[in-house]
């Protein structure tokens, strides 16, 4: 791979590589050690950082970050037995992790200073942690770059800085026995579940911010190290194992929760994520912008509420749950076709505005049908309260049950029910994505005229995508009605601080990554957790949300989990400016 044509690029800080690595390693170990000291003198700061010998709260995050930094620094040095950690970039993961540890630690130290009112509140442990993490960062920035420079000649400081975070793709892995590969996949999902659970269970805003900071730097570090690609290669060879592992991990979530309060968050995230995944069929696969998607959820929820046997329902009929699900899905399907049929024949932009209008009209209509300003169907703004809990096969979802020694509360039960619907939606998404229909959707999304010329009936397929999306949302809505006890028109606004609403659903799809399965799930989890955990900024939540949407479109339109096709589409990497050298070759499979 190295020819005499490659150009080396200086590290950010001009330090000999060995000295830099040693500094980073020592710094990381010192940071690690400092987490066992007391950082502050009073337990007033949440998480109790006063105990010597026992890290708590934010210290655990620093400990994790420092440990990972040290591990990757050793692995990058070529220590035997750790080579598997860094099949891709050797030094860029260390840099990112050092940066992550540094920001998390300094955030903790600053939070202590600000919240308790002054630097005096820091114990020596806090000072040591701050200095040690800075030393680590300095060392890490002195490590050489992983990839050769693209252009000869001296680079500016900023160029060297951005370049320092680039990493080559890993080569092909040596084959392992398949049981080992399956074990690795299982372990990966186990770690994923642990991280997710940790995020949900964070008890105070400071810990959640620290968690986000560490994850924000840690995830790209793992990606730079090439572990993502390695795992991707494994999951591609064991697809069924992966899907099973994912659902086992999701299924295990309620069993990790001792408290139903956090299971509520889990159930709500799952509803949000499932609906976002349904929207991903419409937006991600077929490229249709649906701005009133939450209305279809509402149609399903109202249908289920009316047939639930709630004392406030104006229809005295109680349908069994399966029938209510079918009715909700069918009602959404009908609305989807009614809205889609006239609009989808036209230019794509009309759909956006018609769906936006439909979302509003749905809410207004539900609000008006209170008997005073319209027919008496939905009780108007008060909605339909007292929706009874479900009972399926003698299993009452409202009561706690003891399963395998774990007490599963109401929301854990509904979480598991919702998971069943998530599986349906994921299956529909994956099957249609890989089918003739899915390929036709992608073709229409990319170039409708060309797709028509290839004999694709664009209108019919677009209508199919739109109606399918509507049906999936309607189905999810029927469960949502039971989880929330009450359906009111106010739950189905275009934008609101509490997800799901149309704007947040769309944002979840886009933030996570259009056209992927895991993207909307991660996007939904983030968009639900951030407002739920950071209550103190609730006044500026939507403002920040709007600004984040603009910045996201500007700087990373393909989302966190990028679909390869989308990445190319948004960044217009043609043949000519494709990545050079070893990366291009390994992608081409040479």
């Amino acid at each position: 791979m190295t020819t005499n044509q490659t150009h080396t690029i200086a590290p950010v800080l001009p330090v000999p590589a060995t000295a830099a690595r040693l500094t980073a390693l020592v710094g990381a170990l010192a940071t690690l050690g400092s987490t066992f000291l007391a950082w502050t003198w009073t337990a007033e700061f949440p998480g109790d950082l006063t105990v010597t010998g026992y890290p708590g709260g934010l210290q655990v995050l620093t400990l994790t970050g420092a440990l990972l930094t040290a591990l990757f620094a050793l692995a990058g040095h070529g220590v035997r037995g750790l080579g598997w950690l860094v099949p891709g970039g050797k030094n860029s993961p260390v840099r990112l992790l050092a940066l992550g540890t540094f920001t998390t630690t300094w955030y903790a130290v600053l939070a202590i200073t600000v919240e308790l009112g002054g630097l005096v509140n820091l114990e020596p442990g806090g000072w040591i942690a701050a200095v040690a993490s800075l030393v680590t960062l300095v060392g890490a920035l002195g490590l050489p770059a992983d990839v050769p420079a693209e252009n000869p000649g001296p680079a500016s400081g900023w160029q060297r800085f951005t370049h320092a975070f680039k990493a080559p793709a890993p080569g092909k892995a040596a084959p392992l026995p398949s049981w080992a590969e399956i074990l690795i996949i299982a372990a990966a999902f186990g770690i994923g579940l642990f991280i997710f659970t940790y995020g949900i269970d964070t008890e105070y805003a400071e810990l959640f911010i620290g968690f986000l900071l560490l994850i924000g730097f840690g995830a790209p570090a793992v990606a730079r190290a090439g572990l993502n690609r390695r795992l991707g290669a494994l999951t591609a060879t064991h697809k069924n194992v992966t899907v099973t592992a994912a659902f086992v991990a999701a299924f295990a979530f309620p069993f990790t929760q001792s408290n139903d309060a956090y299971a509520t968050i889990g159930a709500n995230i799952l509803i949000f994520a499932t609906v976002a995944l349904g929207l991903n069929v419409v937006v991600g696969l077929a490229g249709l912008l649906d701005l009133g998607y939450v209305a279809f959820l509402g149609v399903g929820a109202y249908t289920a509420a009316l047939f639930s046997g709630s004392p406030s329902s104006t229809i005295g009929i109680q349908l069994p749950f399966w029938a209510a699900v079918l009715a909700g899905a069918a009602a959404s399907l009908i609305f989807g076709v009614v809205i889609g049929a006239p609009t989808l024949r036209l230019h794509g932009d009309y759909l956006a505005i018609v769906t936006l209008g439909f979302g509003e009209i749905f809410r207004i209509a539900m609000q008006n049908m209170d008997g005073a300003s319209g027919p008496d169907i939905t009780n108007g703004p008060n909605g339909i309260p007292n929706i009874p809990d479900l009972e399926l096969f003698g299993f009452n979802f409202g009561e706690p049950h003891n399963v395998l020694g774990v007490e599963l509360g109401r929301f854990s039960n509904y979480y598991l029910l919702m998971l069943f619907f998530t599986i349906i939606v994921v299956t529909v998404f994956r099957r249609s994505d890989q089918s003739r229909i899915g390929r036709a959707w992608v073709a229409i999304r990319e170039d409708e005229t060309a797709a028509r010329a290839m004999g694709i009936n664009a209108f019919r397929l677009k209508l199919l995508a739109f109606a399918l999306g509507a049906t999936l949302a309607g189905m999810a809505g029927t469960v949502q009605a039971h989880v929330t006890f009450t359906v009111t028109p106010a739950q189905y606004k275009f934008v609101e601080a509490v997800p799901p609403n149309s704007a947040f659903l769309l944002a979840a799809v886009i933030l996570g990554g259009m056209g992927t399965v895991s993207g909307p799930l991660i996007g939904a989890a983030l968009l639900y957790l951030i407002p739920a955990k950071l209550q103190f900024m609730s006044d500026y939540q939507l403002l920040l949300f709007g600004i984040a949407l603009i910045l996201l479109m500007r700087f990373r339109p393909e989302g966190l989990i990028a679909d390869r096709r989308k990445q190319l589409e948004f960044h217009e990497t043609g043949q000519l400016d494709a990545p050079k050298g070893d990366i291009g070759l390994s992608k081409a499979g040479v």
Partner: protein, 309 residues
């Protein structure tokens, strides 16, 4: 049905308001094929700009004297925000897939709305807007509010000025050329970037006029008023044939009339007695949009801009 003239007058006034806002959608769409969702918020910001100007003046200033300053201030606010949005949010995305600028527009719309909510004093609830003193003016068959006079004068003036600008001035003709074929227009030496900014600015200025008209008509401004007004104005633009500036005005008038008549008369139709009244007017406007898309998707006047999709 002897209140028919009154309903028609109400509808035309409402329609003129929608039409003024719709100009902004249709001009921007005609040139860059972008639905500027944030246009409703630019309208709203114009209203707050005018209110700010009025509050600067000594208390008790007659609204008639304050009006020129209010208009200037409203236009300045709206135009600045629109040009800033174009420069920093939309321009970097030119050439990106169509979804990207649409989502930016949504983000911008939410951010502007929330910025007013959070930072404008007392904007969490409706702020009272100055009104003309005196009762309604009786014109025999119907009466109009004093505030409506502003709209009656401003809307035709704006339309005439815009018609003159687009057909007679150099910039206006450059605008037409850009909307027909931006690449060729560029080759002919037209600075298309400047034309696009001009389109945003004119749309915003008209939205600012509409915001003052809205303020003096209803006597209040609030941070949410841009959303539904923007939706209606877009409907008006589609009704008239999007990309067509005269169509936007006609579409606005038709939409306003339809809304007024639906509010007044739908409940007289047998079987629909419960679906009339003000609570359902938005629903009927939406039904009209669906019907137009179904029956005459190119709009009432048709698109002057060739559809390049």
């Amino acid at each position: 049905m002897n209140d028919l003239p009154q309903q028609l007058a109400n509808g035309l006034l409402l329609g003129a308001l929608y039409g003024l806002i719709a100009i902004g959608y249709t001009m921007v769409y005609g040139i860059v094929q972008l639905i500027n969702f944030a246009h409703g918020e630019i309208f709203m910001i114009g209203g707050f700009g005018a209110l700010t100007a009025y509050l600067w003046l000594p208390a008790g200033t007659s609204l008639l004297f304050a009006l020129p300053l209010m208009i200037l201030m409203a236009m300045a606010c709206s135009v600045l925000v629109a040009m800033g949005a174009e420069r920093f949010a939309y321009r970097p995305l030119r050439g990106a897939p169509r979804l990207a600028p649409l989502i930016t527009a949504i983000g911008l719309s939410i951010a502007l709305q929330q910025a007013i909510w959070a930072f404008y004093p007392d904007a969490t609830k409706s702020r009272p807007f100055p009104e003309f003193e005196g009762g309604r003016i009786d014109l025999g068959a119907f009466a109009i509010g004093r505030g409506d006079l502003f709209l009656v004068i401003a809307a035709p003036l704006c339309m005439i000025a815009l018609g003159f600008f687009v057909s007679k001035t150099r910039t206006g003709r450059a605008m037409q050329a850009t909307s027909q074929d931006p690449d060729t227009a560029k080759l002919m030496g037209i600075n298309t970037d400047r034309i696009i900014v001009t389109a945003f600015a004119i749309g915003a200025a008209f939205a600012a006029i509409a915001a003052i008209a809205h303020g003096v008509k209803y006597g209040e401004v609030n941070f949410k008023m841009g959303f539904i007004a923007g939706l209606k104005a877009f409907t008006a633009a589609v009704l008239g044939g999007i990309g067509n500036i005269y169509g936007a005005m006609i579409g606005g008038l038709v939409l306003g009339l339809a809304e007024a008549l639906a509010t007044a008369y739908i409940e007289n139709i047998p079987g629909m007695s419960q679906l009339g009244g003000g609570a359902w007017k938005d629903v009927w406007a939406f039904v009209l949009l669906i019907l137009v898309l179904l029956l005459r998707p190119q709009g009432l006047l048709g698109q002057r801009v060739a559809d390049r999709a």
